[in-house]
């Protein structure tokens, strides 16, 4: 349908909905509108590649009508040196099992009257449909962030004797600094004079120290997750960090390699979900967790009288099953634990769902230039 005007597409959308076949997904194309912001696909899918599951892979509950998939965890084993006459110790085999629960992520229910749809030149329904898929993936990312943050904080709490322990520059400079087991402050943040929300630049030593948190625990850091903002700091690394060849390349072309210090990295523009100053590192997925898709994105559309209604949703499950397989670097000096000692926690955690994707343009407020008034 390329080359067809958006207005015609809107009309077609409208007319097709009057037929039974028209309730199927309608494919339209168009680009005669101004985009408000960049939208990107989910980053969780790059960290944990999703696996398709079916009803038969899942377990039901006798108490309610929801589903889980039970995942086996690798059992423990060891070897030992023994004499010719001795015997090894025995192990009665038992493997842990963990559940991954399923839930739904849905778009809003979009509604518009057939007549008002005529007032648009752009294929507004198609735009919303396409954006809905990315909106859904945005919530996937938010859920993932909540889970990995809970994972690193749980391990950090365990390492500090089972107590949520404040981690800020003041605590690190005190007499009994907290153990940085799964969360670590950046080198500039830890020597800051105040406990604040200022995001310090990402330095090479920070990345190496982050890798060591995993590499030192019989796991291997494989993939970094950071915001585009923090990635930009890498462009500031000096010739001492990069060597003259990379420095020359970076100055001209930016940093163009798929790995950083030998590990893959993922950048995201979703700074309202992964807040700048937070960098996570993960192992390979097989050591880390699961991301299941029970139902791929479905699209429902209907027209009752002149009211068009449509909605998209998917059913997924994700679980961080080995919480030791993710570690975190914080580039700010304030506390980001549940203690919220510096009352700045809201700066570091994902924004509420309702607040995601704040509008960039100010057209509704009349702010566009030059100002044109029609009469």
């Amino acid at each position: 349908m390329a080359g067809v005007s958006p207005r015609v597409l809107n009309d077609l959308f409208n007319s097709k909905l009057s037929t039974a076949e028209g309730k199927e997904k309608i494919a339209q194309y168009g680009g005669s509108y101004i985009r408000d912001r960049l939208r990107e696909v989910s980053f969780v899918r790059k960290v944990l590649p999703p696996e398709q599951v079916t009803r038969t892979d899942c377990q039901r509950s006798v108490n309610h009508d929801t589903l889980v998939k039970i995942v086996d965890i690798e059992p423990q084993s060891r070897a030992m040196a023994i004499t010719f006459r001795g015997q090894p110790t025995a192990r009665f085999i038992r493997g842990e099992k963990a559940e991954v629960g399923f839930f739904t992520i849905s778009s809003e229910i979009f509604q518009k009257t057939e007549q008002e749809l005529l007032a648009y030149e752009m294929p507004i329904t198609k735009v919303i449909e396409e954006n809905s898929v990315k909106d859904i993936q945005e919530i996937e990312d938010r859920e993932f962030l909540l889970h990995i943050e809970a994972a690193v904080q749980a391990l950090q709490t365990e390492a500090n004797g089972g107590t949520v322990t404040t981690l800020n520059a003041t605590a690190l400079g005190g007499g009994t600094p907290p153990v940085e087991f799964s969360v670590r402050k950046g080198e500039l943040a830890r020597v800051a004079a105040t406990d604040d929300a200022t995001v310090r630049p990402l330095q090479r030593v920070d990345v190496v120290q982050l890798f060591k948190m995993l590499d030192g625990n019989r796991l291997r850091a494989e993939r970094l997750l950071m915001t585009e903002v923090d990635y930009d700091d890498i462009l500031q690394w000096t010739v001492e960090d990069n060597g003259d060849r990379i420095q020359s390349e970076t100055t001209v072309d930016g940093y163009k390699y798929n790995t950083l210090l030998g590990r893959a990295y993922i950048r995201t523009i979703k700074t309202d979900i992964l807040r700048p100053g937070n960098v996570y590192v993960f192992t390979k997925p097989e050591f880390f967790g699961k991301f299941y898709i029970l139902n791929n994105t479905k699209f429902y559309i209907d027209k009752i009288a002149n009211m068009i209604t449509f909605q998209a949703w998917e059913d997924i499950g994700m679980g961080v099953l080995n919480i030791a397989a993710v570690r975190k670097l914080e580039l700010y000096s304030a506390d980001a634990t549940a203690n919220d000692t510096d009352t700045l926690l809201s700066n570091f955690i994902p924004s509420a769902e309702d607040d995601l994707g704040a509008v960039n343009n100010r057209v509704e407020a009349g702010l566009k230039f030059p100002q044109i008034t029609q009469f």
């Binding site: 309610h64 559940e99 629960g101 399923f102 839930f103 909540l146 499950g317 769902e353």
Partner: protein, 174 residues
């Protein structure tokens, strides 16, 4: 005395016209079925200033009467979909009229100036009740002289004639 079972709050009319809204729990641990005061379907929740839901009464204090508007929870104890979410959301009947059977009630209780549940069309309010060995935020009877009570619905079928479940209608209009 009612008995709490796996399903305690069931529709007896079409639920499509009812707006069922998911809200995050202010205390996510209440979604854990092993929590001593885990939420069960048919308990009553209010919305706090953070747009999260909390029990409308103090569940540790039997007889504590609701002082705010509240909405019935429509999610059984321990549902996986609730536990699987980072925000631990649960659905309440938010807008629209409905008729449900509930087991989360105390027909004999007379809280404040309320009255035991004895008649069809009797107004109902919310208070902390005890069923078996634990407390719930559930339904108790009110009446026309119960000044200040926040009425959440009306009896449509008495438990004695409904297999031990109270049938009520509520929603839009209060």
């Amino acid at each position: 005395m009612s008995t709490v079972q796996r399903v305690n709050f069931e529709p007896v009319r079409d639920v499509l016209p009812v707006q069922r809204a998911d809200f995050p729990l202010a205390d996510g641990s209440l979604a854990d079925p092993l929590n001593a005061v885990a939420l069960v379907d048919g308990e009553w929740m209010s919305v706090d200033s953070a747009y999260k839901i909390v029990r409308v009464t103090d569940v540790t204090t039997p007889g504590n009467e609701a002082a705010a508007r509240s909405y019935p929870l429509w999610a059984e104890r321990g549902r996986y979909d609730v536990q699987a979410m980072g925000d631990r959301k649960m659905p309440v009947l938010w807008l629209g009229a409905w008729e449900f059977n509930t087991r989360i009630f105390d027909a004999a209780a007379a809280i404040g100036t309320g009255a035991a549940i004895t008649a069809v069309d009797q107004p109902l309010k919310i208070a902390t009740i005890t069923i078996g060995s634990r407390n719930y935020t559930g339904i108790v009877g009110s009446d026309t002289t119960d000044a200040g009570a926040i009425i959440v619905g009306y009896v449509t079928r008495l438990p004695a004639a409904n297999g031990g479940k109270l049938r009520l209608r509520g929603g839009t209009g209060y």
